[in-house]
């Protein structure tokens, strides 16, 4: 692990650790919680053949939508891509491999990696098309589907507030998948609007303890889609 006292780094150096072919968990449900600045830096640096794990595909011109549109993503593990027409077209054209899970199972598969398990046993989806092809096991006279953990090389996280050790606090519905991915990935890069000195965060209010976080990057809300209104409904 990165040492506590060496985590606050520049965005370029943090993202440069990602190589072609990497698997990357990306926080966010829609726009809130999506680490737009980290994704824009990834777009700029040019890594390709990426596997992304994210609840949704953002919209086509923001966040991971930009990476998909630029042909940089080979595979997407997700629960819903309905708001991204480009992702749907790329999937239908066979250029983007899309693996779809029910949202709560996706969350738990990531959390399962974060808890250090192989996976978990569920009754969700048994007998439906989306539950086909899973290994099952009989326990207490009933069939249960095995849902293996989802692992990744990197997680890109958006937090509201951090300290220099990498303790993270999220805000509003920007929490979503971020704390789960922070536990799960091998290497965790978190962007945050504010970085405080250790001691300035209340221990009970920390959502992700610093032990899970490899690097923290301070970003300006005004420089990315983080500060952009996405839709007007």
């Amino acid at each position: 692990m990165t040492r506590l006292n060496e985590k606050h780094v520049a965005i370029e150096a943090a993202i440069a650790q990602i190589s072609d072919g990497a698997s990357i968990m990306v926080g966010g449900f829609g726009s809130p919680g999506t680490p737009f600045a980290l994704l824009d830096e990834l777009l700029k640096q040019g890594q390709k053949h990426l596997t992304l794990i994210k609840n949704d595909a953002n919209e086509s011109d923001i966040g991971i939508g930009k990476l998909i549109s630029a042909g940089r993503v080979d595979r997407l593990v997700t629960s819903h891509i309905g708001l991204n027409r480009v992702a749907i077209d790329e999937m239908n054209a066979g250029r983007l491999s899309v693996e779809i899970y029910p949202q709560g199972l996706l969350a738990e598969k990531i959390r399962s990696a974060g808890a250090g398990h192989y996976g978990f046993l569920t009754d969700i989806g048994i007998g439906t098309e989306i539950g086909e092809g899973r290994q099952e096991v009989e326990c207490d006279g009933q069939r249960w589907a095995i849902e293996p953990a989802i692992h990744a090389d990197f997680a890109l996280i958006h937090a509201d507030l951090a300290d220099h050790y990498g303790n993270l606090i999220y805000r509003g519905t920007a929490i979503n998948f971020n704390p789960l991915m922070a536990m799960a990935a091998e290497h965790v890069i978190a962007q945050t609007f504010h970085i405080e000195a250790p001691g300035n965060l209340v221990p009970e209010q920390i959502h992700t303890p610093c032990a899970f976080v490899s690097q923290v990057i301070q970003v300006d809300p005004a420089t990315s889609e983080q500060g952009r209104r996405q839709h007007d409904n």
Binding site: G30, P32, P102, Q103, G104, D123, T173, G227
Partner: protein, 217 residues
């Protein structure tokens, strides 16, 4: 909003009572926000990680980190909490959400529901629908009685891939409110001005109708 939709929503709102935790699906169900009076102690759950959301007055002053699962900017009411996606679905799988309202492509007289995929045509993913459908105590479908070509959506048996089997409690359309029972689909209320024959003609499912008990809405 059409008057048909308003009729559906007004009928649906009667199912919501004080003290409940309610999930509103994307589309028409979200409009139920407008039918929950602020003083009613109800917490609306949205599966992206919030319990206690409510409408905001001025979208231009929205908090950019506060949306519901349909992407609408929201506020919170007193007693609200926000949490991660694992917690949000734990709440669903543990049946801590009392009721959910959802749209449907098809629903049938066994209470099967199809609302996520039209093979070869529409398959953006399932989102949180499967777990809500499978686990929430009371699932109420809000949908038009027929599709835009006039074909029935209330069927004998769903033809599309299921979201979950045997999950629906109540179906509310602009034509009727129909309860799923062990013996079939029982009509609770018929729309004002609609005859039983007209309702049967617009429906593929076999409807159980006790004329002495059926209400109007």
């Amino acid at each position: 909003m059409t008057t048909d939709q308003q009729r559906i929503l007004a009928r649906a709102a009667k199912e919501i009572t004080a003290g409940q935790i309610v999930n509103l699906g994307i589309g028409l169900p979200t409009q139920l926000f407008h039918y929950i009076p602020p003083e009613l102690e109800v917490l609306v759950h949205s599966e992206n990680g919030v319990l206690g959301c409510q409408l905001i007055d001025d979208n231009s002053e929205a908090d950019l980190e506060m949306i519901d699962s349909g992407g609408t900017y929201i506020g919170t009411r007193p007693g609200a909490s926000v949490f991660d996606s694992a917690m949000s679905f734990a709440m669903i799988r543990r049946r801590r959400v009392d009721m959910t309202f959802m749209g449907a492509f098809e629903v049938d007289q066994q209470g099967n529901l199809a609302n996520w995929k039209i093979p070869g045509k529409f398959s953006p993913g399932i989102g949180g629908a499967m777990e809500l459908a499978q686990k929430v105590e009371r699932l109420i479908v809000l949908c038009s009685h027929n599709d835009k070509h006039g074909n029935p959506k209330i069927l004998k048996r769903c033809r599309l891939p299921l979201t979950a089997p045997h999950c629906v409690s109540l179906v509310i359309t602009e034509k009727a409110a129909m309860q799923v029972t062990s013996t079939g689909l029982e009509v609770v209320d018929i729309a004002d001005g609609l005859s039983i024959e007209e309702l049967r003609a617009a429906t593929e499912a076999e409807l159980i109708i006790d004329e002495t008990r059926v209400g109007r809405f």
